[in-house]
């Protein structure tokens, strides 16, 4: 008698299994897209004002640039924090390997395989000025579009520092010294 009950439920179980498999396949595809193509991130905190909001901006992050070529200076990136490995932060790349970064008081050269990141809000940002240059391998993606809030909707572009002329002179001087020394 129990065998009949069992046989009665088989098509339902099969149906449930098929639907679960379909959902699993969808999530698999979504995960692959998120990891290799494009994903969203919620950015919170004051360190990237005025580019990103204090209370939360929904941004689109693309993952192709970090794999297929070096990131350039001025891009806004998603990066795993070197101080807290479970945390992912959003900052702007100010210098790549070989660049000289800093101001009149202190200058540093970014070593090979590393990048120098800083938040746009220089007064309230914990970045490479505190924890030093960050290995390129910690990069997770490039922020290229803001989805929310609606008044910020639009692309996030590259921004080269204001003192770019001074920086290029410092870089040239350092390169000359490197060859002569």
């Amino acid at each position: 008698m129990s065998l009949q009950v069992f046989r009665h439920w088989i098509p339902t179980v099969k149906d449930a299994f098929d639907r679960t498999l379909m959902v699993a396949k969808f999530f698999c595809g979504l995960h692959v897209t998120n990891t290799f193509l494009c994903t969203c991130a919620l950015a919170m905190g004051p360190s990237m004002l005025p580019t990103l909001n204090l209370t939360g901006s929904l941004v689109l992050v693309e993952r192709l640039s970090i794999r297929f070529g070096k990131m350039a200076s001025g891009e806004v990136v998603l990066i795993r924090s070197p101080e807290e490995p479970r945390k992912v932060v959003i900052k702007r790349i100010v210098g790549v390997e070989g660049d000289a970064v800093g101001n009149e008081e202190a200058t540093a050269v970014v070593p090979k395989g590393h990048i120098w990141i800083e938040g746009d809000n220089k007064h309230n940002s914990r970045d490479s000025r505190q924890f030093g240059p960050v290995p390129y391998g910690l990069l997770e993606g490039r922020v290229f579009w803001v989805m929310w809030p609606p008044e910020d909707f639009g692309s996030v572009g590259r921004k080269v520092e204001n003192n770019s002329l001074e920086r290029s002179l410092v870089v040239k001087k350092h390169k000359r010294q490197k060859f002569q020394g």
């Binding site: 396949k25 995960h31 692959v32 070197p82 101080e83 807290e84 490995p85 090979k112």
Partner: protein, 169 residues
């Protein structure tokens, strides 16, 4: 025009079959990729920096990613790490110290007995190869952020006479 129609009608089932087989292969590769990235993957390791634990000419080891995700990677573990000097390269070394611990190491063991002590900063680990005479590790490039650790090597698959677990030192 009708010949084109007939041609398409002839090839339609074959194209359909081709699509469904490709989807099957794609789904298998998807599952293989997810397993490799998040669970366990084989890695070919070569070079002199981990002698005598790992061979010079190449060992295949199984690397699991779960310990790293749950923060259970600690001193004594052999780990696969993305190189801080070349982001496209991965290196295999042993964790000697984690954040907060102080490390005393020989700066140039082949030349002198000079040693140096460093405290590992927050969120970082100190990695060294077992063969300190021929290894480029934290003694040269400093402590490595925990986020660069890819996984823990726990089992050796090749060569067959060295098949077995990579026990802690």
């Amino acid at each position: 025009m009708s010949r084109l129609f007939q041609f398409v009608r002839q090839w339609k089932p074959i194209i359909k079959e081709g699509f469904s087989q490709s989807f099957l292969i794609a789904k298998f590769l998807c599952l293989l990729h997810v397993t490799n990235t998040h669970v366990c993957t084989p890695v070919l390791v070569y070079g002199p920096s981990m002698l005598p634990t790992l061979n010079l000419t190449g060992d295949v080891v199984l690397v699991e990613h779960l310990s790293q995700k749950f923060g259970k990677v600690g001193p004594g573990d052999v780990v696969v790490v993305r190189s801080p000097e070349n982001p496209r390269k991965t290196v295999t070394k042993r964790i000697v110290a984690v954040e907060g611990e102080s490390v005393t190491f020989l700066v140039e063991p082949a030349l002198s007995d000079r040693s140096h002590t460093v405290v590992v900063p927050r969120g970082h680990v100190w990695i060294q190869g077992d063969n300190i005479y021929s290894s480029r590790d934290s003694r040269q490039f400093g402590p490595v952020p925990y986020g660069l650790i890819l996984g823990k090597a726990f089992w050796r698959v090749w060569p067959p006479d060295a098949f077995g677990s990579l026990s802690q030192e």
